[in-house]
Amino acid sequence: MKNIGYLLAAYAATWIIHIAYLGTIVGRYSRLRREIKPGQVVGR
């Protein structure tokens, strides 16, 4: 039943998209953390 393949593809695609987006969040977050020099005060 190759239709199961489509079912799994749909579920996989869903999570790939979500993980990709979460990946961008994590990536930007770690880049920001690196940018903040040690001892530098951030914020108003």
Binding site: K2, T14, I25, L32, E35
Partner: protein, 230 residues
């Protein structure tokens, strides 16, 4: 507040796994389509979650237009981004479902087309946010959000009538649904709502941090003595 996040994360993960089990195993098999129909348990809740998020975007934008609070602007940005992600999931799972059932990837059917137009509108919103100069972005984006929200009923109405005149197969089917299937659908929707909330929360924190860093850097460059401290 910080400790709540991992706890909620684990709870959400459990809920998602339970919902997945319900979708794949517990839900009854459809007579007409076989097991492929189970795509519905990811396809439809993604759309519903996106609608909730885009509604939040509209609310936050109106709030910003009235009160001009930066928090509202960040909520608007976050809800639009995550909303577009969920719309994308819906737009990708739709054709994957259509192919085995109808033999074609796309039909310009009522639901997929409306979702596509919605996706286009909110992606253009994200482009505006990216391309406008930062001082104006909150106000311009809020205005565009209002116009986009006003457009939504027109999108659905016009495409519905168009499809009534030129009928096509509807992906996801119309008509009544088995109550057991509805039950599983709602469970998955709840799970995705919780997941969306956590994603929005993370994105919100990232944005707050980003703005603080930008603010600090702007201040630093303003106050640096001539000749540069660095």
């Amino acid at each position: 507040m910080k400790r709540a996040f991992p706890i909620l994360g684990i709870l959400t993960a459990i809920l998602l796994i339970y919902a997945l089990y319900q979708a794949l195993v517990a839900a009854p098999t459809d007579q007409a389509q076989g097991d492929v129909y189970r795509i519905i348990y990811y396809h439809v809740p993604s759309a519903w979650t996106a609608f909730v998020l885009l509604f939040v975007n509209f609310g936050a934008s109106v709030f910003y237009l009235i009160k001009r609070k930066p928090v509202a602007d960040i909520v608007a940005l976050v809800s639009a981004e995550v909303g577009v992600v969920f719309l994308t999931v819906n737009l990708v799972t739709g054709p994957i479902w259509a192919r085995p059932v109808w033999g074609i990837w796309w039909t310009w059917d009522m639901r997929l087309t409306s979702t596509l137009v919605l996706w286009l509108i909110y992606v253009s919103y994200l482009f505006l946010r990216r391309f406008s100069s930062s001082g104006q972005t909150p106000l311009l984006a809020a205005a565009l959000s209002v116009l986009g929200a006003l457009c939504v009923p027109f999108v659905y109405f016009s495409i519905w009538f168009f499809r009534t005149q030129h009928p096509q197969p509807v992906i996801g089917g119309g008509g009544s649904i088995d109550p057991r299937m509805l039950h599983v659908l709602l469970i998955n929707w709840l799970a995705f709502l919780c997941f969306a909330f956590l994603v929005c929360w993370s994105r919100y924190n990232l944005e707050v941090l980003q703005r603080e860093v930008d603010h600090s850097q702007a201040l630093e460059s303003l106050m640096a003595p001539r000749g540069g401290a660095r």
